[in-house]
């Protein structure tokens, strides 16, 4: 399953179209969930004898419950515009990783059983029976899609392969063939409240250590409160922020920003996770259940606002779905966006001038920024269209003197996935992850060559973990990926922090 490291694709430019290599990734397949993991997300423990009937029944149900699924299956004209847009196709050359071909794996079955043409002329329209081989193929290739939506940007009808992947994964879950990685994690959130299964005690201990580290570092006591009733702000952040690098540096950054802004905030041990893998398995019910924990935490703690930490898909669920899944949020302060992104908060404070920043502290860094797919194409920030591109860049430019964007066709709404999103961030998919990262890495290399870029900032827990792991395969240090708020953290001069820092100057950015 895991290929040797020398199997890293060499692309001459980030969007190089590969020659087709049929079946190249046919063996890529993540571990199947155990009966226990399946049950923890309320799906049957193993492949059921009547799986086929159930799969078809589920397909029918989805077509009746989800307009996107129905319209996308009907509307594709096979124009081919999406064929070269998927980073997994670019990295692997496997034609089944072309978005339309990925959709067709399921569409062919849908056609066979639910359309007139497929029932009577299957050959003509490429319809096929649902067999165990087809199921295996689904399992393999629907776990080679990071649900990044890049294809949907370029399809003339907006057909979003991510929606089809999610539907396929739900169908597979319903018949008892779920993926271990996602289901185990969702089970932990239902039970403990975060992806890691980190208990309250351990969480408190970790955060206390972190407070000590900050004090040691800066001489200022910056708090990271847990379960503080009556706090104004509930911070919901990916649990990776509590222990992984460079995530933790980002958390320190949020804490410093809150400290300087002088707001009362808290983390909840009950909802100690921003990630919501219910999205990845296409399960409305699981996604809702996870979201409702946040509602309960907000109510129990009596907060007025909710702010999300740096996490891509979590922000998509928060921004685009939270109101639907767990609203209405009538008990929160309506003067602020519900929920709000930490970048929105920080940028507001920067504009207000509450943060004292010393950009030169990041002078050893020549920076670029990786737009995370779910933030770029599945959510927004601020009041303006495209705020999700502007706000993080504004922040970075305010704290770092050397900022360079990667080529335009690889950033913003055209951003290339890190290769590890959508529930694929698991060791058993390392080969796929490396190949899928190669377009992004190639774009990074271009700015390294042209502008001497040394580091790349990201604001997604998955992106950060993925890059820390794959960057060494592309000749970068694993710490070349940074949290956005890590750079903020570096630059921020805390009130009362060493008067020796004469050169520190207060930078207030005009609203302009």
């Amino acid at each position: 399953m895991t290929a040797p490291d020398n199997d890293v694709p060499q692309l001459s430019h980030p969007l190089e179209i590969p020659k087709l290599k049929c079946g190249a990734m046919a063996d890529s397949s993540p571990y199947v969930a155990s009966p226990e993991h399946q049950k923890s997300v309320k799906y049957p423990g193993e492949l059921l004898p009547d799986w086929k009937e159930r799969a078809l029944a589920k397909m029918k149900e989805l077509a009746e419950k989800n307009r996107a699924f129905q319209v996308y299956l009907d509307a594709c004209v096979k124009c081919g515009a999406c064929t070269d847009k998927c980073h997994y196709f670019i990295g692997t050359g496997d034609p089944k990783n072309m978005p339309v071909a990925r959709q067709d794996l399921l569409r062919s079955v849908y056609r066979r059983y639910f359309t007139l043409a497929g029932k009577y002329f299957p050959k003509l329209v490429g319809a096929r029976d649902l067999t165990e081989e087809v199921l295996d193929e689904w399992y393999s290739y629907y776990h080679q899609c990071s649900q990044c939506r890049r294809c949907s940007v370029f399809c003339p009808f907006g057909i979003d392969t991510a929606e089809i992947s999610m539907a396929a994964r739900e169908i597979m879950n319903v018949v008892g063939k779920g993926q271990k990685y996602c289901n185990e994690i969702i089970g932990k959130v239902h039970k403990v409240g975060n992806n890691l299964g980190l208990q309250e005690k351990a969480l408190r201990a970790t955060l206390e250590d972190l407070e000590e580290d900050i004090e040691e570092d800066t001489g200022v006591s910056v708090r990271i409160p847990v379960d503080e009733k009556g706090a104004d702000i509930l911070l919901v952040t990916p649990s990776a922020d509590f222990f992984a690098e460079p995530h933790i540096e980002g958390l320190i950054g949020y804490a410093k920003v809150f400290h300087e802004a002088g707001v009362n905030w808290t983390i909840s041990s009950y909802a100690s996770e921003a990630a919501n893998f219910g999205l990845f398995i296409g399960s409305y019910e699981n996604m809702r259940e996870v979201s409702l924990r946040i509602r309960k935490a907000a109510k129990d703690l009596g907060v007025k606002r909710i702010i999300f930490g740096e996490c891509g898909h979590a922000w998509r669920v928060a921004y685009s779905f939270l109101n639907t899944l767990a609203g209405p949020w009538d008990f929160l302060d309506q003067n602020y966006p519900i929920p709000q992104h930490i970048c929105e908060f920080t940028w507001d404070e920067m504009q207000k001038g509450t943060l004292k920043l010393d950009k030169t502290r990041n002078d050893h860094i020549r920076l670029t920024f990786h737009d995370s797919c779910n933030v770029a194409r599945g959510s927004g920030m601020g009041d303006d269209e495209g705020g999700q591109f502007e706000i993080p860049r504004n922040i970075l430019k305010a704290v770092c003197n050397h900022f360079y964007d990667m080529p335009r066709d690889t950033i913003m709404e055209s951003t290339l996935c890190c290769g590890g999103g959508g529930g694929l961030l698991t060791d058993d998919l390392m080969d796929l992850r490396t190949k899928g990262a190669s377009p992004r890495m190639t774009a990074l290399k271009q700015v390294t060559e042209e502008n001497g870029v040394t580091h790349m900032a990201a604001m997604c827990a998955i992106c950060k973990t993925q890059f820390a792991k794959v960057m060494p395969k592309f000749g970068y240090e694993m710490d070349s990926v940074l949290s956005v708020h890590q750079l903020v953290s570096n630059a921020i001069v805390l009130a009362g922090q060493g008067d020796d820092e004469e050169d520190a100057h207060k930078v207030a950015i005009d609203a302009a």
């Binding site: 179209i17 020659k19 087709l20 009746e64 419950k65 989800n66 307009r67 996107a68 129905q70 319209v71 009907d74 509307a75 594709c76 004209v77 096979k78 124009c79 081919g80 515009a81 999406c82 064929t83 847009k85 034609p95 072309m98 071909a101 067709d104 007139l116 043409a117 002329f121 050959k123 003509l124 329209v125 490429g126 939506r149 949907s152 940007v153 370029f154 003339p156 009808f157 907006g158 057909i159 979003d160 929606e163 409305y284 019910e285 809702r288 921004y319 685009s320 779905f321 109101n323 639907t324 519900i338 929920p339 770029a376 194409r377 599945g378 959510s379 927004g380 269209e385 999700q388 709404e413």
Partner: protein, 240 residues
């Protein structure tokens, strides 16, 4: 006899087209979009979404960003087709509406636009490896059908002229449920037969992309999820 056969054919084709597409549209309207999934950055107002859709329908904006060749051929084909279809309205209106008169001269050569567009798209299905891979026989057949329609039409227009007046009288008659006389010219008959076939396959094929585009959640949704709750009826049930 010929008049009767084609009358039956056209009545059946029309019924299938109208009811088939109506049934599909009804499904699209009824099936809820349970979550807000516009591909962002997306407009935050209804007017914004209207213009986004307008640009997609009229200019094929996303396709333009995506692939210049497909855009060039696809857009040429579609726009020429609209011109041709507008020109055709003269067979179905009496007196011919003013604006249809106006487009007549512009539409004449649109047939060539269709040929070039369709030809380019079809060639890609043979010569571009990726597109060859995703093509099924039905993709070729629909192109063949359209090429057949266009070539037979252009034949009548430029080579073997048909008695257009007779065709018009026949069509106007059909619209009033009167079956008249249809000239028995092979090219005309071929043209009409293929058109009827196109009408019949429309609701069962990828030609559903035309109505489908208007119901694509990633394009037609407003990006206002934080401001407004968006609850599908079946999801509301979960809250009981």
């Amino acid at each position: 006899m010929l008049g009767v056969t084609y009358a039956i054919l056209f009545y059946i084709a029309t019924l299938i087209l109208v009811f088939g597409v109506a049934a599909k549209i009804r499904t699209y309207i009824r099936v809820p979009a349970p979550l807000k999934i516009p591909t962002t950055p997306a407009p935050k107002t209804r007017t914004g979404v209207f213009w986004r859709m307008f640009r997609e329908v009229v200019f094929f904006e996303s396709l333009y960003k995506s692939n210049k060749w497909i855009w060039l051929f696809g857009w040429t084909f579609h726009m020429s087709m609209w011109l041709v279809l507008m020109r055709h309205l003269r067979y179905f209106s009496q007196p011919v509406w003013g604006w249809v008169e106006v487009v007549q001269p512009y539409g004449t050569y649109a047939a060539f636009g269709m040929v070039v567009g369709l030809g380019g798209l079809w060639a890609r299905r043979f010569f571009v490896e990726r597109i060859r891979y995703i093509s099924t026989p039905s993709d070729h057949l629909i192109l063949a059908l359209l090429v057949g329609i266009v070539l037979s039409g252009a034949m009548m227009r430029f080579v073997v002229h048909t008695d257009i007046v007779a065709v018009k009288v026949y069509m106007l008659g059909l619209m009033r449920l009167q079956i008249g006389f249809l000239p028995s010219e092979p090219v005309l008959l071929a043209h009409l037969f293929l058109v009827a076939m196109l009408m019949i396959v429309f609701p069962f094929s990828k030609l559903l992309h035309a109505p489908g585009l208007f119901f694509s959640p990633s394009r037609n949704q407003i990006d206002n999820s934080r401001e407004k709750r968006h609850l599908a009826p079946w999801a509301a049930e979960l809250e009981r």
